[in-house]
């Protein structure tokens, strides 16, 4: 390691680098993540750069240049980094500098100096400039020169994209300690709260961002996270929600000013419309109504109007429904049922919109907790989830040598066998057909693992049987008693839907007892005593277990050998 990368000299922050917004955060001495506001006071800093006569504007200031100086304003570029020109979608840049091809990479043709001539600036260079500004803001705030960071990226960020980002960051004077994925950072942000308890659960992180939406289903097992499935969608996005409002207000404007023309047909009017609509959308996250007000929206005509939240929700309902479908789809893709999901963390700016949360709540059972500002008073700001997770991770690893971090995140360390079934005990009866399975270690737990369970005994004590088995989760569906068919009235247009949710079936999570692993006996157990079962499962699936009476002497030990190694060599 060279001197400048000396861990002792490191000042590390967390960075979330989004297509629309970026954030920076650091971890305090008490281990609490804090999000840093830039010099404009913004914690959500638009990932936008704009050049006016050679001067570089960044963040919110650059964003307002989208109206007058769109050609020299670069926005929504994150997803272009490390990509070939042929594989990028330029659509988000319709209202700012368009991407162009430079060799096989992506660049922007902008006037970024005081000179008249346009320069071709690569997306890597733009990224470096953006990160430099973020770094400066952080350094100013901390009073220390920030030189390292953990940066969050989407789960489908390729190695090429990461390596390009790594290089761009280095150019900006930032040593990337680690890239961590956005949904996992969000989970970490929640788990790092002092009141959080380590538990086994399945978490969904649903991120409704500006240009795309991403969903990840994550098994959280004793603080170890495994991504089970992901879904990415570029059709469901905050842009689409803005568009709904833009169409609405454009039509209102046309209605009011017959001669005003359509503000969507003029670039500058369109830019004003878009900026204001995003502001209206944000206002509707808190208020039940919001004002739209733009000076000289089109043809020199001012326009003000109001909209209430329910109107907006109605206009955009199909987008909320599409987002909810996406979340359900991700759960299906992980071969799970909505009943398996303990928590859904709503991330991304649009999760501030109450309807985003309620649409998802409706698609899941009551047993699923939705963590969003409108559903939980203790929810973390959805905009800040990634950056908080990144800051916490940065604080955990900032003392390590880069080489050390690299080796610790090597697949030799990260690839682990995961249990295909839950392992647990049979209660009440030793007969597999009538006994009730209780899981001790859940499926998808990374190995090796150790778990302890405390189990009740029969009322009289005596000799007990401890039977270890595999169990698989089973969804029991109870159809309601068929209601007497209602008289069909003449218009049968609308009865399809009603009858469907009337006869809602009852779905429950139960267990099916699978393979029996072992039996053990504990004799002469005291009345009212409890039994402690400790299960250790090694990476080769050898099981080592200890059964004893809590507070009693002795106990029983057992050893189970692993299954035969499969043909292809995987364990």
């Amino acid at each position: 390691m060279s001197g400048e990368n000396d861990p002792a000299q490191r000042v590390a922050i967390g960075i979330s680098f989004g297509n629309s917004y970026s954030s920076i955060a650091f971890t305090t001495g008490e281990g609490k993540a804090e999000v840093i506001a830039n010099e404009d006071g913004d914690r959500q800093i638009p990932s936008i750069l704009s050049y006016v006569e050679g001067e570089e504007l960044h963040g919110g200031q650059a964003k307002s240049q989208l109206v007058r100086n769109a050609k020299n304003t670069v926005a929504y570029f994150r997803d272009f980094l490390g990509q070939a020109f042929k594989s990028i979608d330029p659509t988000p840049c319709h209202q700012s500098a368009h991407p162009v091809q430079a060799a096989s990479n992506v660049a922007f043709k902008i006037r970024d100096t005081a000179e008249e001539a346009e320069n071709t600036v690569t997306v890597s260079e733009i990224t470096t400039r953006h990160l430099k500004r973020l770094r400066n803001s952080a350094s100013d705030y901390l009073g220390k020169d920030v030189n390292a960071a953990v940066i969050t990226v989407p789960t489908n960020f390729s190695d090429a994209q990461k390596s390009a980002l790594n290089k761009a960051a280095k150019e900006a004077g930032i040593e990337v300690l680690q890239f961590i994925s956005e949904p996992v950072a969000a989970v970490l942000a929640y788990d790092a709260r002092p009141e959080a308890k380590v538990a086994d659960k399945i978490i969904v992180v649903a991120d409704l961002g500006g240009t795309r939406s991403d969903v990840a289903v994550i098994a959280s097992r004793g603080g170890i996270y495994t991504v089970l499935s992901t879904v990415h969608d570029y059709e469901v996005s905050g842009f689409k929600l803005d568009q709904v409002l833009m169409d609405h207000f454009a039509k209102e404007f046309i209605k009011k000013h017959k001669a005003g023309g359509d503000p969507r047909e003029n670039d500058r009017s369109l830019a004003k419309l878009k900026l204001e609509c995003e502001a209206v959308k944000k206002a509707l996250s808190i208020g039940t109504s919001a004002n739209f007000s733009v000076e000289s929206l089109a043809n020199g005509l001012d326009f003000t109007a109001t909209i209430n939240r329910s109107r907006y929700e109605l206009l955009a309902s199909k987008h909320f429904a599409a987002f909810a479908r996406l979340v359900t789809h991700a759960v299906e893709k992980a071969q799970l049922d909505p009943l398996d999901i303990s928590e859904i963390i709503l991330a991304g700016g649009n999760s501030h919109t109450p309807k985003t949360a309620s649409a998802i709540q409706n698609a899941f059972p009551e047993t699923t907790t939705i963590l969003a500002p409108s559903t939980s008073p203790t929810a973390i700001n959805p905009n800040e989830l990634s950056v908080r997770g990144a800051a916490i991770q940065a604080s955990l690893i900032q003392e390590f040598e880069l080489e050390d971090i690299d080796q610790s995140t090597h697949p030799m360390v990260t690839v682990t066998p995961h249990l295909s079934h839950a392992v647990g005990v049979l209660c009440i009866s030793g007969d597999e057909s009538s006994g009730i399975f209780h899981a001790i270690v859940d499926a998808e737990t990374s190995l090796p693992v150790r778990r302890t369970a405390i189990i009740a005994t029969p009322r009289e004590g005596g000799n007990v049987l401890i039977k270890l088995c595999e169990g698989s989760r089973h969804i029991k569906v109870t159809k309601p008693e068929p209601k007497p068919k209602q008289e069909r009235d003449s218009d049968d247009d609308d009865d399809d839907y009603d009858s469907e949710d009337e006869e809602e079936e009852l779905r429950e999570k139960t267990w099916k007892v699978g393979k029996v692993l072992s039996e053990a006996a504990l004799r002469g157990v005291k009345k009212g005593a409890k039994i402690e079962v400790q299960i250790n499962i090694a990476a080769d699936l050898k099981v080592n277990c200890i059964f004893r009476e809590v507070g009693g002497k002795g106990g029983v030990r057992g050893l189970l050998s692993g299954p035969k190694v499969q043909q292809n060599g995987s364990a």
Partner: protein
């Protein structure tokens, strides 16, 4: 991790359970799945520390470690690879109503079957290729017409309501019914199966029963045609509406067009219902199974009729035979009765004669016994009395007793002996209660 708390009790150890040191291994765990854990958080760091033991891993190890890992991210490459018709690429966006949205997105082989996910992937793939910025980069004219066509196609296909409207009139998904000739070449199930599969897309009720094949049962075939004759279709025709003028100036004109559209939709719907009905009629008429079932039914009916007739004949014959037998029996019986009667008459006569004879013998015996008068000729009163008494006795006895009496008397010449026989008879009759004591005075 806190320990798992289980409040349900463990079972009681069954009688006679035994295991070495009270433990019995039964079977191994199922195989595990290799997955990547996220290198994030304090618990991972602890794991990494344990697992590394300060070892160093190489690039080869990386590849080796990843071989069996369960994949989570999809490959972005799609299954969509349709050739683009050069004419289609020249379309104008304003004519979007006339475009084949599925072809524009390169998913014309999926059409109404395309999933939301497929449409989105197809859209993305097309955008990557046809975005005007890409054309500019390739030095082509900045023409965004086809790009706009792509956007329109996606807009329509991702909106469930608008997609149904388009699917309703998507000729690309139509399968023309085969002609009679084509059908009769022997491909009925294949040709018509496709037609019904395509028509089935309009059904509100899903799944739609399949045409089946020559092995389908009668119930299946009946169910199939019943379904199609009661088809509940969601097909609508507003996609073909004439554009309603958007300005508020000409309200009458607007209302006029709207009314026209309503009527056109209704008319098309009616025509479609009729079209489908005819289609089902045609299929039904060509369906060999129907004939087969009808023949089978016919044969069945015939069989039943023949059986019924045979049964009737058999019954008639049986009845005739029965009647004949009865007549015979009757005749025989009558003959027998007649014979019996004749016999009886003869016997009666014989008996009568015998009785007459016996009576004569008895009476003669009375005379032989000197009218029961001891010593000398009997006085007339005695004779009368004796004869009366004997006649009285005769009336009291039946022919058999008479014959008995006669046989006892036959050949007897001794008056005392004869008298004694009579006296015994009287005694017997009195004992049997047929005569009263002293009724036969001459024998008392």
């Amino acid at each position: 991790m806190a320990s798992v708390q289980v409040s349900l009790p463990l079972p009681v150890l069954p009688e006679g359970w035994s295991g070495e040191r009270d433990f019995k291994a039964i079977g191994p765990l199922s195989h595990a799945t290799d997955r990547n854990i996220e290198p994030v958080g304090p618990h991972f760091l602890a794991h990494a520390r344990r697992k590394r033991h300060k070892r160093t891993f190489s690039e080869d190890d990386r590849i080796q470690a990843q071989v069996n890992v369960k994949k989570v991210e999809d490959d972005d490459a799609g299954e969509i690879s349709e050739l683009e018709d050069p004419l289609m690429l020249q379309r104008e966006a304003k004519d979007w109503k006339g475009q084949d949205h599925y072809a524009v997105l390169g998913i014309s082989k999926y059409r109404y079957k395309a999933t939301e996910d497929q449409i989105k992937r197809a859209h993305r793939k097309k955008v990557l290729k046809h975005h005007p910025d890409k054309k500019a980069a390739a030095g082509e004219a900045q023409d965004d017409q086809f790009f706009k066509c792509i956007q329109k196609a996606t807009e329509v296909l991702l909106d469930p309501v608008r997609r149904r409207q388009f699917d309703s009139v998507d000729e690309g998904a139509d399968v023309e019914p085969p002609t009679k000739k084509e059908t009769q070449k022997g491909n009925f199930y294949k040709l018509w199966g496709k037609v019904f599969e395509s028509e089935g897309r309009f059904s509100k009720v899903q799944p739609v029963p399949k045409l089946g094949n020559e092995k389908s049962t009668k119930e299946e075939v009946e169910h199939f045609y019943n379904f199609w004759y009661n088809f509940d279709s969601w097909r609508t025709f507003e996609y073909l509406d004439e554009d309603v003028p958007d300005d508020n100036e000409n309200r009458d004109q607007k209302r006029h067009v709207e009314r026209k559209n309503q009527n056109a939709r209704r008319k098309k719907k009616t025509e479609d219902t009729a079209r489908l009905r005819k289609l089902v009629d045609d299929a039904l008429a060509l369906d060999e199974r129907i004939k087969k079932f009808r023949q089978a039914e016919h044969a069945q009916k015939n069989k039943r009729r023949l059986e019924k007739e045979a049964e009737q004949k058999r019954l008639a014959e049986e009845a005739a035979k029965q009647k004949e037998l009865e007549a015979q029996a009757k005749a025989q019986k009558e003959a027998a009765e007649k014979a019996d009667r004749a016999d009886a008459k003869k016997a009666k006569e014989a008996a009568k004669n015998a009785a007459k004879k016996n009576k004569r013998v008895v009476r003669a015996a009375v005379k032989e016994a000197n009218y029961f008068h001891s010593g000398g000729d009997a006085p007339p009163s005695q004779i009368d009395q004796a004869l009366n008494d004997v006649d009285h006795i005769i009336t009291k006895i039946d022919n058999e007793e008479l014959a008995d009496l006669t046989s006892k008397l036959s050949g007897k010449k001794n008056a005392g002996e004869i008298t004694q026989i009579f006296k015994d008879e009287v005694q017997r009759l009195v004992g049997a209660g047929k005569l009263k004591e002293g009724e036969a005075k001459s024998l008392s």
